[in-house]
């Protein structure tokens, strides 16, 4: 419970009663729902395995985007609402690279060339957009009260979405498919679709890379220093502006990579593809504790699992029709509940200076 400024006598207040009722209610709901579903036996083991892997794969992309959010928050204490559009920009531009390569007959044939090219295009585009955002929309507002950069970010998000709509068109485009990635891997007796496996592995690799960057390299150390205390870091000779640009750039690179992975899973790009994942990733970052990189990763994975497993595990047993419709309800409800009991997220947040 929150510790107030002055001591109140420890009584069992109404709030406590409600909180306990809530805890009991949630546990009961989860247990009953799961038990009912599992005894009903609608889904086979293979189906559950599929739910879980789908959740982990989707969650990994959320995690990558969430880490971008969290990096920026750690330094600037602002939510970059437009980060979803950064993600979209990379994915969409890379689409043209991919279809261009395919038109040249090089896409499937020269995987060693085509994949790096597509990834590079995505990551560089996202990075550019992120850096431009920082320079044009956020830098002038460093000292403004919280609300102002948030509104700017929302405005930038709308602006970017519709800019890309104007540039690339409003229709939905399909990525050229990679036939080597169709089918499943057999791991531990479970059939995991190859695309999901690749996405999960790639995401883990990127996350590990980020940890390494932040913990072991000089750039990472500068970033940590600036996020601890901007002014002191400046006094220690760190170029704060440059570090901030680097942070946005790295966030952009991650988002671009997430974009490619996302299209690997779902095959399509459109100008509006960034909005929902952006919000979900934001949710994930908050869930894990904003400002906390490990929290973002965990939050992302958790959210992906909740979306893919939650509705079926918890609600099917109660006979709720069309449970898939309620996946976001579950995700957001979990968010609310987590924040009720742990107002700073699962792993705690960075406090603002």
């Amino acid at each position: 419970m929150q510790i107030p400024l002055f001591k109140r006598p420890e009584r069992f207040t109404l709030t406590d009663a409600i909180m306990w009722a809530l805890r009991v209610g949630i546990v009961a709901f989860v247990v009953l729902g799961s038990w009912a579903t599992l005894t009903k036996g609608t889904y086979s083991e293979a189906a559950w395995a599929s739910f879980v892997t789908a959740g982990v794969a989707l969650g990994s992309t959320y995690a990558l985007i969430a880490m971008g959010y969290t990096l920026v928050y750690g330094i600037l204490f602002m939510i970059n609402f437009a980060h979803g559009e950064v993600f979209m920009a990379g994915a969409f531009t890379a689409f043209f690279a991919a279809s261009g390569l395919q038109a040249m007959g090089m896409f499937e044939e020269n995987l060693l060339v085509s994949i790096p090219v597509v990834l590079a295009v995505a990551m560089l585009t996202s990075m550019t957009i992120a850096v431009l955002l920082e320079r044009i929309a956020y830098r002038p507002l460093r000292r403004a009260p919280r609300l102002v950069p948030l509104i700017t970010a929302i405005g930038a998000s709308l602006f970017l979405q519709y800019t890309f709509r104007g540039l690339y068109g409003a229709s939905v485009r399909s990525y050229p498919t990679l036939s080597i990635l169709s089918g499943d891997f057999l791991i531990l007796g479970m059939a995991i679709p190859k695309t999901r496996a690749v996405v999960i592995v790639a995401a883990i690799a990127l996350m590990v890379g980020l940890f390494y960057l932040v913990e072991r390299t000089r750039t990472g150390r500068s970033m940590r220093a600036v996020s601890e205390d901007k002014d002191v870091a400046a006094m220690m000779g760190i170029d704060v502006d440059r570090v901030i640009v680097q942070t946005f750039a790295i966030g952009g690179l991650l988002a671009g990579a997430a974009g490619v992975l996302y299209t690997l899973l779902f095959n399509q790009v459109s100008y509006s593809m960034g909005f929902l994942p952006g919000i979900k990733a934001f949710t994930a970052a908050v869930l894990g504790g904003i400002g906390n990189i490990a929290g973002a990763a965990i939050g992302g994975l958790l959210l992906g699992l909740l979306e893919n497993v939650g509705p079926f595990l918890l609600l099917d047993g109660f006979g709720v029709p069309s449970v898939n419709q309620l996946r976001d309800v579950i995700a957001f409800s979990v968010l609310v509940l987590v924040l009720i009991f742990r107002p700073n997220g699962l792993l705690g947040r960075k406090e603002g200076t």
């Binding site: 609608t42 189906a47 599929s50 485009r173 498919t177 996302y262 459109s270 509006s272 497993v309 898939n324």
Partner: protein, 410 residues
């Protein structure tokens, strides 16, 4: 300063009072422009002076991801205008509005068109979700509206239809039934699963399919699910539906989500046959879905029109108006027929004066349209029921073969 404020204030008040004293403003103009003509129509008359074009509004989805649906209909309307040339001795002018394929768009388009007293009829809307409020608004104003592609049953159901609304598109009770018939008789399946996307159109259509499937061949629905039109991730939904092992998956949704679902379904339920409806019946869908659409079934209005008019005159005119080699969706012919029906009704009820002025009574126009019987249009022989269904409903099922739609049934 004060003096001037006072004078201008008095002037303003005088003007406002004058305006107010003239009474309530109604959309329809009184037909007193010509001289002796007294408009006896209950709702009102629209008058076009000599040389003035007859104005008809359209409210179709012409922007956004479903634009091909509305643009296609709009081209059909334009072709009708070109082919006809003149109506009752006047040229025809169209006022194109966007219905946005949602309730707000439909409302706004309907308001814009009904507030213009020179518009005598409306062709619209494209989407049923826009159609519901739009039909109410146009009917409240006495403006007759004919839809080329609204298919939701509620729009012409006895309890919920609007008195000035008609449609030349089929009623989805027919489409759902046709699909059920196809699945039962042609494919011989007895298990199916359905998905809708939360739009009134899709939800009603799959509902009808479910009922008919059960009735026609005791079909079992192994699962029903819903997704959002903007969703990307259908992996889990499809996995959960796959658990019921349906022989066919019927998802009558729109292009964006439909294409994604098709691709993902091929991976997750490779043995299940896929089927959709007219919301996905477009080139945009084929392009977005790619190879995954191969072998899939789609129901839609039967474009195998009898007679040569469609091939020899309509399509070339369509190409000229639109710049497209082939029609981009499936309701252009319905739009053409709707427009032509309106033209015919106008000529029937118009009162012409010697100098060329023409008066059209709104109630008379509506009555004439509802009385349409045996109208020979491209889409068949149209007869309007008293609740507004005019279509000669023939639904066909097509299969995607080699990246194109091939009509295969009936």
């Amino acid at each position: 300063m004060q003096k001037n404020m006072r004078w201008s204030g008095i002037l303003v008040v005088m003007m406002l009072a004058l305006a107010a004293c003239q009474g309530e403003g109604t959309p329809a103009t009184d037909g007193n422009g010509g001289g002796e003509f007294e408009c006896e129509d209950e709702v009102g008359c629209v008058t076009y002076g000599p040389g003035e074009p007859i104005r008809i509004g359209t409210a179709l989805v012409i922007t956004g991801p479903d634009a091909s649906l509305g643009l296609d209909s709009q081209y059909g309307v334009q072709v009708a205008g070109e082919v006809r040339g003149e109506v009752a001795g006047h040229s025809v002018e169209f006022d194109f509005q966007d219905d946005g394929c949602n309730a707000e768009g439909g409302t706004a388009a309907a308001r814009t068109l009904t507030s213009d007293p020179s518009i005598v009829a409306v062709i619209g809307t494209s989407c049923s979700s826009a159609g519901v409020p739009a039909a109410q608004i146009t009917s409240d104003a006495g403006v007759v509206m004919v839809s080329p592609s609204n298919t939701a049953p509620s729009l012409t159901a006895p309890e919920t239809h609007q008195p000035y609304y008609l449609r030349t598109a089929h009623n989805d009770t027919v489409q759902g039934e046709a699909m059920a018939q196809f699945v039962c008789e042609e494919l011989g399946f007895t298990t199916a699963a359905t998905v809708h996307d939360g739009s009134p159109y899709a939800e009603q259509l799959q509902q009808v399919f479910q009922e008919q499937f059960a009735e026609l061949c005791d079909g079992e629905i192994t699962g029903t699910e819903a997704v959002g039109p903007e969703d990307d991730d259908f992996n889990s939904v499809l996995t959960s539906l796959a658990a019921g092992e349906p022989e066919i998956l019927y998802y009558p949704i729109f292009t964006a989500a439909g294409a994604l679902m098709t691709q993902q379904a091929r991976e997750i339920m490779p043995d299940t046959v896929l089927a959709g409806a007219d919301g996905m019946f477009s080139d945009a869908f084929l392009e977005a879905a790619g190879d995954a659409a191969e072998g899939m079934y789609l129901s839609g209005p039967d474009l195998a029109f009898s007679g040569t008019f469609y091939e020899e005159e309509f399509k070339p005119a369509y190409t000229e108006v639109s710049g497209e080699a082939e029609p981009i969706s499936v309701f252009h012919a319905h739009a053409f027929d709707a427009t032509t029906m309106i033209f015919d009704a106008i000529e029937e009820v118009a009162v012409e004066e010697d100098d060329g002025t023409v008066h059209i009574g709104r109630q008379a126009l509506a009555d004439a349209l509802f009385a349409t019987s045996g109208f020979e249009g491209i889409t068949g022989s149209l007869t309007c029921t008293e609740t507004g269904d005019c279509a000669d409903p023939s639904i066909s099922v097509s299969e995607v073969i080699d990246g194109a739609f091939e009509r295969i049934w009936p």
